[in-house]
Amino acid sequence: MNPQSCVNIQKEWDIVGARQLGRDIARKIGFGTVDQARIATAISELARNIYLYAETGQICFEVIDNMDHKGISMVAIDNGPGIDDVSKVMEDGYSTSGGLGAGLPGVKRLMDDFDLQSEAGKGTRIKAVKWVR
């Protein structure tokens, strides 16, 4: 059984709500302080991207509990404008919003698995997983 919980991202404060929920889940699964911070930060980046570029969307968390593998999976989905050039947004320092351009390449480094699917005009789906070490 994989309990799943989702947070809608509609307003700025939802970014905080999403990372608090994700952090709580991470703590319960048994992640240490540093990984909790990594997970919460990754959620914050994903949620802010939704808020900034797509305006609304959703982040869903799932606890993965296999035989010897435990982890947290997060999926960020929006129906926003999509990403024109996926390889470009994965470059450090690239930003169209005046930010640091650290978001997505940062999330990839913070998490263990990272998958980005995006279609211009349709939306973006990002899945990231962190495993308990």
Binding site: Q36, A37, R38, G99, L100, A102
Partner: protein, 118 residues
């Protein structure tokens, strides 16, 4: 939500104790700059001991406020960055290279005292 800014002689002291959202961060930036202007403070310590998350946005706001204060003639030191936060910032690729830091509030004040000599 407003982050309180305390004045101590020529210094301003800020301890961030709450979860910072984007608006609070921007508001704090404005508040600190007007407080520097108003008080004529020459040094500022922003203590981050209770902050357990700094994402790229908050990092940008903090880095910017250091540069902005510098333009106005006040020196800012960030103190108390937690180990987990330091590790996460480097993972994000954020090095805050030109930002003065110190281990804790006490060390931050010593640093300001040494540099400003007051």
């Amino acid at each position: 939500m407003r982050i309180p800014i305390l004045k101590l002689h020529n210094y301003l002291l800020i301890s961030i104790q709450t979860e910072i959202d984007d608006n609070t961060a921007i508001q704090f930036q404005e508040d600190l700059l007007s407080k520097i202007h108003q008080s004529g403070a020459t040094g500022v310590v922003i203590d981050l001991t209770s902050v357990d998350i700094i994402d790229s946005f908050i990092a940008k706001v903090l880095g910017d406020v250091v540069t902005m204060s510098d333009l106005m003639g006040a020196k800012v030191v960030l103190t108390g960055i937690q180990p987990a936060v330091a590790m996460t910032l480097i993972d994000l690729g954020i090095h805050l290279k030109n930002v003065p830091t110190a281990l804790d509030l006490e060390q931050g004040l010593i640093k300001l005292y040494q540099e400003l000599g007051e």
